[in-house]
Amino acid sequence: MKVLVTAKRVVDHNVRVRVRPDGSGVDTASVKMSMNPFDEIAVEAAVRLREAGQADEVVVVSIGEKAVTDVIRTALALGADRGIHVDTDAELQPPAVSRALAELAVRETPDLILMGKQAIDDDSNQTAQMLAGRLGWGQGTFACGIEPADGEVIVAREVDGGTRRVALRLPAVVTADLRLNEPRYVKLPDIMKAKRKPLEAMSLADLGVAGDAGLTLLGVSEPPGREPGVRVADAAELAARLRDEAQVI
């Protein structure tokens, strides 16, 4: 079984994001960037499938500027076999990303595409669903368990109040939720070895994808600040203010 894993480069989860003064987006200058944590879980899941003998190749793909190769190298250090960098300076939205991945899937013919359930920067949670739609494949989103079986994969999905198990005929698209696994630490010698693993570069245009049409970013703003709390003397004042000022009782 061949597994294709996607990995997005995002602002590190420890960094407090800050909107640029002109509202054109989030300031990423000199900001620590990392692999989207859900993608890391997807990479770990893929590597475990290969270690268990259920997959024979793990290919990791990232789309974006040259710097996203860092994320690919990390995935290679975690155990992926080879990388594909789809080069573009454009900040793509899920429609274009899923289109590029669909083209790639046609070329690579993976049996399973593993993705993070969403990226922690835009929280769209759309790409996998669009991709499955474009390919006409089954999808198992929010996975907390993956068991490949004969020609299919059993996915335990996180749903409200429990898990739902679904069987998907391969090829399929599966997205990783938080509880799927706890990714391993990257080992220092493996970082060095990852430098020698194959990393293929192609442009977005090579895949015949132009970018996002019909989407315009209007502006980005921070949530409004919270008003500071006030201290009241007693229950009577609290009740009075809830009634007269807040008008909630």
């Binding site: 590190d12 420890n14 960094v15 407090r16 800050r18 003064p21 200058a29 000199s30 900001v31 620590k32 990392s34 706890e182 990714p183 391993r184 630490y185 990257v186 080992k187 220092l188 010698p189 970082i191 060095m192 500071p228």
Partner: protein, 545 residues
Amino acid sequence: MERERMDYDVVIVGGGPSGLAASIRLMQRAREAGQELSVCVLEKGSEIGAHILSGAVLDPRALEELLADWRDRGAPLHTPVTEDRFVLLGERSARRLPTPPQMANEGNYIVSLGNLCRWLAEQAEALGVEIYPGFAAAEVLYHDDGSVKGVATGDMGLNPDGTPGANHEPGVELHARQTLFAEGCRGSLTKRLFERFDLRAGADPQTYGLGIKELWEVDPSQHQPGLVIHTVGWPMDPKTYGGSFLYHLEDNQVAVGFVVGLDYDNPYLSPFEEMQRFKTHPAIRPTFEGGRRISYGARAISEGGYQSIPRLTFPGGALIGDTAGFLNTPRIKGSHTAMKSGMTAAEAVFEALTGEAAEAGAEVSAYPEQLRRSWLWDELYRARNIRPAFRWGLWPAIAYSAIDTYLFRGKAPWTFHHHADHEQLRAKDQATPIDYPRPDGVVTFDRLSSVFISNTNHEENQPCHLTLRDKDVPVRVNLERYAGPEARYCPAGVYEFVEDDSGNPQLQINAQNCVHCKTCDIKDPTQNIDWVVPEGGGGPNYPNM
């Protein structure tokens, strides 16, 4: 468990200005000589620059010597200093003083040292240096003959009690023919080397300062790119060494910082609160009104200078940068000297590794010899008496500095000495509590909201990296005798005295807040706190400090 092993010619511990400069110079020498050389830089921060915090006004002298074409290579030196102001603050007053010659900054640049390091790392990698951020050197390794063999990175995935967790990954041994320790001020491995090789024998104790810095985006009307302001006086009492800096960078950004000498004697003093209070001064506050604070951090610096320089070499390795202590305190600059020391060590190490008598574990004494003949040594020698003179108080020190600088040109026939910072605290009943104003949420803030914007994090489930030699000392000595100074000097709110269930005070250590400034390791009165590296990648994630 057997650890994996990697072999290099040179391993450098720390990806700051000195370590990166050393790595670049090593590769340059190797290329000139047409030789292969393997050089590895370990960095405990999650990326290069993540733990770098400095003012910073950079004297480009060492950079010029390292990469003369730094302009063409796009080094992030964007803001030349255009104006220097030296101001004496009273509680309500601000008086311009003539700028001391050490503090004149013509030809210097206001930079983010973190960004400079990121750029240096790119240059180093292009030359073939292997840089591994996110891995902390936790242990020095020795050969049987006692010489340094290299370092080991810390284990990842340990439980709080030190036992291996589910994802445990043992550390890796990095063996090297020479190991350069470039840990920055108060390096945790350097401390071990000091003891093992008695490197501080004959040197004065190191004396330190704690610098607390914020980065602001200010109202454009308050911004003057290239402006450098230093203040002395208020809010420090005349006996306490300390002062501020305000550097106007590009893009309406202003770096503001306050440095307090860690030889202060009042256990009630809080460097963090002094920094906050400083911003409320009528001459300072307008700069920040209408702006927003975008980053916060803190770092100790070595202020001892010339007298406090330890022995720099030992069999198998050497100390470079601020872990040895090359800061020029009157100039408030140490990046250029840190880089110079790294470059000088690199040249000597390269000779030692490739020369006739090359052998692993040798002591490269050519490094200190060459350093003594360099401009670094002369610069630090001339500056040596200024910092100790501040023991007499602000005015006598300013007067003495003028005499030392103008009359003796730094070559007075005497040398003043330093004392250890942790021995300076007075007992609480001999000290006056300080009443600090509450934060206003506009220009002044509390510790926790500050640490929040330093992007600090540590994997929660790991052994505490702030270790206590005796767990009873915090309450029995620190609290009872000194009113718990760690709760005040820590700029990140790591140390808190809380009551246990039976109402007895106990020390709570919030290690995940630690910004790796090392102040506790320095100032703890009985040296009971031992700062060791946490899991690699933990600590602050400074964007451009």
